[in-house]
């Protein structure tokens, strides 16, 4: 603070607006971190058939939902009160879209946790090892998405939306084939294998939501709205 009691930065035009925008970005990362932690716990609960941990994941969804609404409310307030333009407008518009994607990551993690609870009621059926490998990679994608949002590294965004997402799509196909083959060979495991198919599907969808966020980061930086992984 200067002798007059005013920090120089407070005299910059729109200093408070810039601070509120920064806080929103930080909260988006908080939401993403909550969703990532839920995913990690959901996959661990599957590995250990730990229904208590699965229920913890489901309970945590309220935290993600609250954060999502809290961020959306502040975005709408900034739009109404501050009339953002250019990069600020792109950032707020992108945050509004990205929080919906991250909230879906949390929802899919809950869906995985629900499958774990159902699976615990069935006869034991060992999930394919590749499913856990896929879970690790998707978890890493969520973390990388949050890193990209902080760093605005467009090369990393491109990798996220192409190489990493393609890898998940390939794993999803392999796991689906493996589970379908098991179902044909052993009809008694159809229910459990079907539940694991859902888990693989949820993981694949989480990866897609990560690419959506990646495309928003690309838009913030370049002003171009486009799909980054065109087949």
């Amino acid at each position: 603070m200067s002798a007059e009691g005013l920090d120089n930065s407070m005299l910059e035009p729109r200093h408070q607006f810039a601070e509120r925008l920064f806080d929103l970005e930080q909260d988006l990362i908080r939401l993403g971190s909550v969703a990532a932690r839920m995913l990690q716990k959901a996959m661990r609960s599957l590995k250990d058939t730990d229904t208590a941990l699965a229920r913890e994941v489901i309970d945590e969804d309220d935290v993600a939902d609250d954060l999502d609404l809290h961020i959306e409310t502040r975005c709408m307030r900034l739009l109404a009160q501050q009339q953002p333009m250019a990069r600020d407008l792109r950032t707020i518009g992108s945050i509004l879209k990205a929080i919906a994607d991250l909230e879906r990551v949390a929802d899919f993690s809950c869906d995985i946790a629900l499958e774990v609870i159902h699976l615990a009621e069935e006869l034991r059926y060992e999930p394919p090892a590749r499913l856990f490998g896929m879970g690790d990679k998707v978890f890493q994608m969520v973390l990388d998405t949050l890193d990209c949002f902080s760093s605005r590294d467009l090369d990393a965004v491109q990798r996220l939306c192409t190489t990493q997402d393609d890898e998940i799509d390939d794993l999803y196909r392999e796991i689906t084939d493996e589970l379908l083959a098991h179902m044909k060979e052993e009809p008694t495991v159809v229910t459990q294998a079907a539940r694991l198919l859902f888990v693989a599907h949820y993981l694949e969808r989480i990866a897609d939501h990560c690419t959506n966020v990646g495309e928003r980061i690309h838009y913030i930086e370049t002003g171009q709205l486009k799909q980054l992984n065109v087949p």
Partner: protein, 264 residues
Amino acid sequence: MSRQETSAPSSAARGSKIEVQNLSLWYGKTRALENISIAIPAHEITALIGPSGCGKSSFLRCVNRMNDLIENVRIEGKVCVNGEDIYAKSVDLIALRRQVGMVFQRPNPFPMSVFDNVAYGPRIHGRRNRVELQEIVQRSLDAAVLWDEVKDKLSSPAMSLSGGQQQRLCIARLLAVEPDVLLMDEPCSALDPVSTFKIEELMLGLKEKYSILLVTHNMFQASRVSNFTGFFLSGELVEFGKTEELFEKPRDKRTDDYVRGRFG
């Protein structure tokens, strides 16, 4: 800036109303405009934005030679309206200002009746027939979306109208002499929000018939009503393009900083 960057994308299709080439302007030794080249499209609203003293009003006043009234002004370059150089010696200034009308920051009705304000221009251009004048006044007030509000008080003093009505009266007064181009210099800065929105609606309706060049400090007004926007800074035209692009993804960092309110 290259020539290409300063042409509105649709101007080729609909034609440019105003073509400005290498325009510079000095007030005494101070250079207020620096080598401006721009093609203003016909039948569109083009907004000029920028911080105070950036040259946007000076530029506007060049388009109907209002700067001629200021001492020690020197102008270089070319300004064409409908393809004709308005700084050519043969130009009739009265005819030019009839063709290129101007609305000012504060409404400036003449101290006479509503009717006489609108009839003033046609009268000095030789229209004397009462019936003809009545028809012009009604048509102009109607075009300025004011007729319904003043039709029963045409003989009342113009000064008795509200600020927003006075500004629309000034626009009706311009329309009465059938201009081609409307120059608007901060036309809403002295008006309340409702009057401002009425003027904005009016502008949107008028662009079908007129080409409008709007100087505004209000970026949100520029983004609401204009089709093209030019950003001026220190006498330079930094960027010109489609309004939605200029406000969503400006090409120049200075434009980006300005529209985000980071300086100015």
